[in-house]
Subunit: 177 residues, 2 copies
């Protein structure tokens, strides 16, 4: 039996917000904090030499620099595909053919964020490069898909969505180490 | 240049909390909301017939039932390995040989949670089964690793950590579709 929502209250409102839900489960009242976060996109750009184009940036939450797939929040009035093309433009300066692969939840135990995952192929440099978001200082990291798989296995890449994305594309492309 | 933290303020305190950081980057002051969440463990239990033991539960944030690896927060005074064994006991009723694989961040753009990932083999049913957490109503889902890989590729499994974990173990075990 799914839990039954009894009450829901917003306790913090910002870019991210938190709501506290009271629900009835197994004959008991329980309370859960839920992070409300916009849905997002992640793109795996693979060029015609089987290089994957990743980005490295300092992340304030874990306080370290991480290698990740280009990704970001879907803006209002944007479709997931439009968001994927915008993020590719902003973060790596490429456009390409966008193929939807999957969607997944990043932390479904407490966070609403759903991320749509795309493969980008037939990559071409954009002429009308958009400015990056003001909080981004990004370095582009291009590497063979095979090298990226190895970097996932040995801990050099430590972002979960990036590991899932790279192992997924490696499996679709039948890449072995 | 990494950003320089100038001020940090807690704006919500619960099981999860939010802090607002002001920092200096690219000659500008910027503000970021950061979710502070405890670190956690995820376990991929694989039996001697190459079945993986997953759990299905209703998740309140995405409002749907998801298939996931056994996982949970590391309690105070617990090591990650102890947490992995406790979660296996509570969620699936097994103990086993625990091998550390990786750690990864679930949503490093705004969330501090780091998850330690373990492989569990030599599985044995526990005699001293611990009670589940009060907010958990879990169904155990045992399936061939190969079937789990297929469920990741076709969207039946839509939890990012579970997709990363299963594709990782499939690659380590050299499982093909």
């Amino acid at each position: 039996m799914p839990p039954k929502l009894v009450a829901s209250k917003k306790v913090y409102q910002g870019k991210i917000s938190i709501r506290v839900d009271d629900y009835f489960l197994n004959n008991r009242m329980l309370r859960a904090e839920v992070i409300q976060h916009s849905d997002s996109v992640g793109v795996i750009p693979v060029d015609d030499k089987e290089n994957v184009i990743l980005v490295e940036q300092f992340r304030f939450a874990p306080k370290k620099s991480l290698i990740e797939i280009p990704a970001g929040t879907i803006e209002e009035n944007e479709t997931p595909v439009e968001a994927a093309l915008r993020e590719m433009n902003q973060e790596i300066g490429f456009k390409g053919k966008i193929t939807p692969l999957l969607h997944w939840y990043l932390a479904p135990g407490y966070d609403t964020e759903k991320m749509y995952i795309f493969l980008a192929t037939d990559l071409k440099m954009v002429r009308d490069r958009l400015p990056m978001d003001e909080d981004e200082t990004i370095q582009v990291r291009k590497m063979k898909l095979k090298t990226a798989v190895f970097a996932c296995m040995n801990g050099q890449i430590s972002d979960c969505k990036t590991i899932a994305a790279i192992l997924l594309v490696a499996r679709l492309n039948d890449v072995h180490q």
